[in-house]
Symmetry: C2
Subunit: 189 residues, 2 copies
């Protein structure tokens, strides 16, 4: 996002720069509107994939990861939402965006809880908030600038090379396993 200009965005959605600014006050406002739509699209994709996937921690982690990997615009905008975008728009725009994003998170948590009942509503919400935080934290590391990527060729820095999909999935799956395990222990104890 850092390098994307309003002209790029206008081109992507097929409008002239001046027409985009007729509807939105700032570039950040345009990005937050796009991100709200991306949250909804991700939600729809996950809801579509869950019923046909194994009802296991591995299955749910795979669905969340693969649908996120297919949405680089979502991941990129989301990774800048709290640190940059939300801070540069009006309170009304923040409210509009948060309603959309939190609504999507709530519906995603419901869908995951339906797919994996042993997780529970609370566990399912932790999976979704954890997933959102991990996407925001991992995306910029996994997509370094050219100069940073070059520095990471050094074998001493091999642990700095992060693959977004495998890392997200490899963290989400044990998170889900642990939440199920904690809930089972709570029910037993």
């Amino acid at each position: 996002v850092g390098e994307v200009t309003l002209t790029d965005v206008a081109a992507r959605v097929g409008l002239a720069h001046s027409n985009v600014l007729r509807y939105f006050e700032t570039r950040e406002e345009v990005f937050l509107h796009l991100l709200a739509a991306e949250w909804d699209a991700w939600k729809t994709a996950v809801e579509g994939r869950l019923p046909e996937s194994p009802a296991t921690a591995a299955g749910v982690a795979a669905v969340l990861t693969e649908t996120a990997v297919q949405r680089p615009l979502f991941c990129d905008l989301h990774s800048h939402a709290a640190s940059v975008l939300e801070r540069n728009v009006s309170g009304e725009s923040v409210r509009h965006f948060k309603l959309a994003a939190l609504g999507a998170v709530g519906q995603l948590a419901d869908a995951v809880a339906d797919a994996l009942p042993e997780l529970g509503r609370e566990g399912s919400r932790t999976v979704l908030t954890g997933c959102a935080a991990l996407i925001a934290g991992l995306w910029p590391i996994a997509n370094p600038s050219e100069r940073v990527a070059e520095a990471l060729h050094d074998p001493e820095l091999r642990h700095g090379r992060v693959e977004f999909g495998p890392r997200l999935r490899g963290t989400l799956e044990p998170l889900i396993v642990g939440l199920i395990e904690q809930r089972a222990r709570g029910a037993l104890g």
Copy 2:
């Protein structure tokens, strides 16, 4: 970090702006140097706390969380490292910073694996990389601007109010439980 200027940093470390720029080329370079030192300080704090804490998932999650909560400068700089700071310095500065940060992550993973042997080296590394990604993703959400915080007073947006410590701990603990569980299953299977 977004609002911190080089003059603030110079004031914090007791130097005049001109003296800081004698040693560093850009503000981002100063921040990355500070962050490298913060990684080392966090590592030392965790290493100091682990031996006196319960050797359980809850104990390790509490140590990682509480030591991070005590270091707002670390959390703030870290949350901007990959998305902003690393992108605005020389390749040599990136290399220097990454060596320090990855070194700290490796030593932290060793310390956690020693404290909780059932986690294994690989599991312990996943805890640390997950913890780092979660700190980067959660910090900006948990520390909104004044205007965003005001918008979040709306009861409809209550799920948007995130407390950093409880959320980090509440995600790390099940992640550790799940990694131990996966490893135990692997050993049995």
